[in-house]
């Protein structure tokens, strides 16, 4: 408590109240766009200075270029949306040569989302992408519900999740966070398994598998049939899972799922997350991340809290 106070008075800048340190990551604030909802930053870079973000989680990168699923790829649902993009991305080489160097103009740590079909792909992508100067951490995507093989199969079996984490840890030059899927019976088991495999942190949650049917035809709206549910609708599920997982692991959690306004950030921190990612809300309001960052200090004042980290895990203290 006093430690934080002294940091903020030393810096003299209010913003130090928001600074958070996590493995590999010196975050100016705990707010970052979630993977897949921010591309590789270029589009949002036209709208505001990306250096104000805590970090950026870039779109999943696979070894080879991927074109993703047929369309329609998205469907709106009650207070949410389904997506089945299918990990469309320019591939490891494209990301290394074009996307990451472009992001170097900003003073912001990049968290590279790594996806694959088999262990060897993950390992190869992780090994190379972790050498990029601005990639400060990896986010292992073992939870994408929208690709036929790989992805989520690693995320639903504790042993496979453990082994993949260990294999990637061995080659990565930077700390490894593992992104968990909510589509499991007991997410705590997976969390413990990746921690045992050497994960430096956990990011959660990825999307919940769902479907929407067309009223007239009765057919699925999304071409992939199923999609991943995100947005405000999933927030209670995400909060509950962060609340549970944060009590069974020692490693930090970056929480996400439905964060759309500043109050949601407070909830995720209270549930046990150390930082928070914003996904779908970027589509609703492209300036949502800067808006939340700007609003945080006054919410801390309202709550009578000096430094944002004091909120982490408040829900457990009862």
């Amino acid at each position: 408590m006093f430690g934080w106070t002294s940091i903020s008075s030393r810096g003299g800048v209010d913003m130090n109240r928001l600074a958070v340190e996590l493995p590999g990551l010196q975050l100016k604030n705990p707010i970052m766009p979630a993977s897949g909802c921010f591309g590789f930053g270029k589009e949002y870079g036209n709208l505001y200075d990306l250096s104000m973000l805590g970090a950026i989680m870039i779109k999943a990168t696979t070894l080879d270029k991927r074109f993703g699923n047929p369309t329609p790829r998205v469907a709106e649902t009650a207070s949410g949306m389904l997506n089945a993009i299918g990990l469309q991305n320019p591939g490891l080489q494209g990301v290394m040569e074009n996307e990451l160097p472009w992001l170097e103009q900003y003073d912001v740590p990049i968290i590279a989302n790594v996806a694959g079909t088999e262990t060897a792909d993950y390992v190869e992508v992780a090994k190379t992408i972790s050498t990029a100067p601005n990639v400060k951490a990896l986010e292992l995507n073992i939870s994408c519900p929208n690709v036929k093989c790989g992805g989520i199969t690693f995320g639903t079996d504790p042993q496979q999740a453990h082994d993949l984490t260990a294999a990637v840890k061995e080659v990565s030059e930077v700390p490894v966070y593992v992104k968990l899927s909510p589509n499991v019976t007991d997410i705590k088991e997976i969390a413990k398994a990746v921690e045992a495999g050497g994960a430096d942190g956990i990011t959660m949650i990825n999307t919940l598998v769902g479907m929407r049917l067309d009223q007239k035809t009765g057919r699925p709206v999304i071409a992939n049939i199923t999609g991943g549910l995100s947005g405000p609708a999933v927030k209670p599920v995400a909060i509950k899972m962060v609340y549970e997982v944060s009590q069974v692991v020692q490693i930090p959690i970056i929480g996400m799922g439905g964060v759309s306004e500043t109050a949601d950030v407070i909830d995720f921190l209270s549930a046990g997350a150390s930082a928070v990612a914003v996904g779908t809300a970027n589509f609703v309001d492209p300036f949502i991340c800067p808006k939340i960052i700007e609003e945080l200090p006054s919410i801390l004042d309202e709550l009578g809290v000096e430094h944002i980290s004091e909120l982490v895990g408040r829900s457990h203290r009862l």
Binding site: G36, C37, F38, G39, K42, E43, Y44, N46, L47, K59, F67, G68, T71, P72, R73, V74, A75, E76, A78, S79, G80, M81, N83, I85, Q88, G231, P232, S260, T280, N282, F283, V284, D285, P286, F287
Partner: protein, 258 residues
């Protein structure tokens, strides 16, 4: 430049059955650079419905800093939009995408503009700009029925205008292609916006001609970041996809696989 603007509603009226013409004012208007660009509108201040709605810019009045959109109130989002009143503020993101290239038709030559249903609106600003520079515009507008048809007078003021309705309640009974047959191919360029089957029919009928088509696709971000709105390209070699929101919505004929 793309901006997020809180635009004021300066007019809202039903111009045909469930078809609304809305006028909005704000600094976003000054950023529009070509006809066929669109805006992404947040229809609610809450998170229900969640996503923005993409709507084409139908007309621009730079002096009044005003733009017009024309939309069909159909689902939850567009119905909410139709309830906005003069003086209300609306969160609008735009202008988005690349519009129709006016420069592709030299003054003195003829362009044919083919629209279907809610694909008709962006052709209005296009025709205004083409005729202003001395292009002769022929309009072929297709609607389901007479009661959902709109802007016949406005288009007629700019050039020759033909209407087709599927049920024959106005103009020629049938599709835009039926009218196109009677016009022949004495034109330099064609521009089209409407449902996919119509775009396909137009492109097939005018094979070998210079044309530009505007596409629709389900969207997330609207600015090119989420890969929701892709279309497949015709170059079969590498099965490339392009984004309707930021690479389009207008593409030269033949680029998108329909």
């Amino acid at each position: 430049m793309i901006i997020q603007d809180r635009m004021r509603v300066t007019g809202q009226r039903e111009i045909a059955k469930n078809i609304f013409e809305m006028k909005l004012t704000g600094k976003l208007v000054g950023e529009i650079n070509s006809p066929g660009q669109f805006v992404h509108i947040r229809v609610s201040d809450s998170f229900e419905p969640l996503l923005r709605r993409p709507i084409s810019i139908a007309s621009i009045d730079n002096k009044a800093n005003e733009m017009t959109i024309i939309y069909r109130a159909e689902g939850r989002g567009t119905q909410l939009l139709s309830m906005k009143k003069e003086g209300d503020m609306v969160d609008v993101l735009g202008p988005l995408g690349n519009g129709f290239p006016v420069g592709e038709t030299p003054p003195g030559e003829t362009a044919i503009l083919i629209g279907g249903g809610i694909g008709v609106p962006p052709l209005y600003e296009l025709s205004k700009q083409l005729t202003a520079k001395g292009v002769n515009c022929i309009h072929v507008l297709g609607y389901q029925t007479a009661d959902v048809s709109f802007y016949e007078e406005e288009f007629t003021r700019l050039g020759e205008t033909y209407i087709a309705t599927v049920d024959g309640t106005k103009g020629r009974a049938g599709f835009v292609t039926d009218v196109m047959e009677t016009i022949g191919d004495g034109f330099t360029t064609y521009y089209s916006c409407g449902p996919m089957p119509m775009l396909n029919a137009v492109q097939t009928a005018y094979i070998g001609k210079k044309g530009f088509l505007s596409f629709e696709q389900r969207m997330g971000c609207g600015i090119g970041a989420c890969f929701a709105c892709v279309c497949e390209t015709t170059e079969k070699t590498d099965k490339e996809y392009i984004k309707v929101c930021s690479d389009g919505p207008v593409f030269p004929a033949g680029v998108v696989s329909i």
